[in-house]
Symmetry: C2
Subunit: 191 residues, 2 copies
DNA sequence: GCAGACCGAATGAACATTCAATTGGGATTA
DNA sequence: TAATCCCAATTGAATGTTCATTCGGTCTGC
């Protein structure tokens, strides 16, 4: 990824933080500008419109999640370990990036995202599907559609990260491992 | 629940449908009015403001989900059956009420909901927590916080209902039972 | 002195909300 | 029964505000 011009990054980050707190409505461009320390007009030097800004921000944010997945899904590591690493890696990432998590959840449930390419062309989901495909092929996972396994697993990560991120609940290491084991028990073959 | 005046209900339903398609932003009161077949001013006869309308709509919608939970969580039925009924009942409900599901997901991830009472005072989650508490007490579920079990289970229902509701995937009865079994294998003790 | 980055006041459209006016039907009176 | 009154329900045009976007101009490095 080529380095992002400073101002552009500042606009991204400000937008993400403001959307987290105030939603898409509730974050005027003027506020993004002030928060990012740029003039309103400058935003339009980098982005065609508010919609474009939001959409590009989503891609920018998703790229970061994709990097986590790519880092943790290594074919050289046993699948089960890989699965644990992936779940933990994603959980930690979302946990440390609540802004991004909140922005994401708002985006994917908004009309912005319905106008986008379907799951099949989405790099994030393609990676996840492939990973679970591997688990099935190795005979470790139940023979359920990888789409379903991926969706269930990811939604468990998201819901836990949201729960602990909101400060409503703290999970220590032991509990996290318990949860992770629980998910694994669900999807794994044999038992 | 006392019967809702017709117009009020029409406003609720229109708002839910419009928000599903166009988001909170993107659904002006004037549009709600036209869609509901009332004048703009009429909405303000029933609701103080747009925010109030949205918030009350959420309560109205949540009440319907609560009724599903109350109907399916019966202490006289063995816990495991109850669990299967509950999961299936919620799934079917969300599946048949995509409007509501989409509205919900937008709401809970928006700033509207952060201004609301915490989980502990939320009737829906109180019911769910109590249900999972029962499962733990009966020695059927792993000894994990009921909050976590409830959150994980509910998020699995939601993600499946979203997946199939979007038309991206069809699940036949057999697959659904497979998924439900998978969730149960995760949370149930013993194995 | 050129080009691109940047500024921020100005513009115009969209929107939430208000309110003066109208309706309709149920109660009260004659 | 008819005439009258009352008031909640309803209307929709008008209001004032907020906001996305524009654009003429300034700045900076080359």
């Amino acid at each position: 990824m080529e380095p992002i011009a400073d101002k552009k990054k500042a606009i991204f980050i400000s937008t993400m933080e403001l959307v987290r707190d105030k939603g898409f409505h509730g974050t005027p461009m003027s506020m993004v500008a002030k928060h990012a320390g740029v003039a309103a007009g400058t935003i339009y030097h980098y982005f065609e419109s508010k919609e474009q800004l939001i959409t590009e921000l989503f891609d920018y944010a998703q790229q970061q999640v994709i990097e986590v997945v790519e880092q943790e899904t290594c074919a050289a590591i046993p699948f089960k370990d890989c699965f644990f690493n992936l779940w933990g890696g994603l959980y930690t990432f979302y946990q440390n990036n609540q802004n991004l998590l909140r922005f994401f959840e708002q985006f994917v449930n908004s009309p912005y995202s319905t106008a986008r390419p379907p799951l099949e062309e989405d790099k994030f989901y393609t990676l996840l599907f492939a990973f679970f495909e591997r688990g099935i092929q190795e005979g470790l996972l139940k023979e359920v559609s990888p789409k379903i396994l991926a969706t269930l697993t990811h939604s468990s990560v998201l819901s836990m990260a949201k729960l602990t991120g909101s400060g409503r609940l703290h999970l220590d290491r032991k509990e996290l491992e318990q949860i992770l084991q629980l998910i694994w028990d669900g999807i794994a073959f044999d038992r």
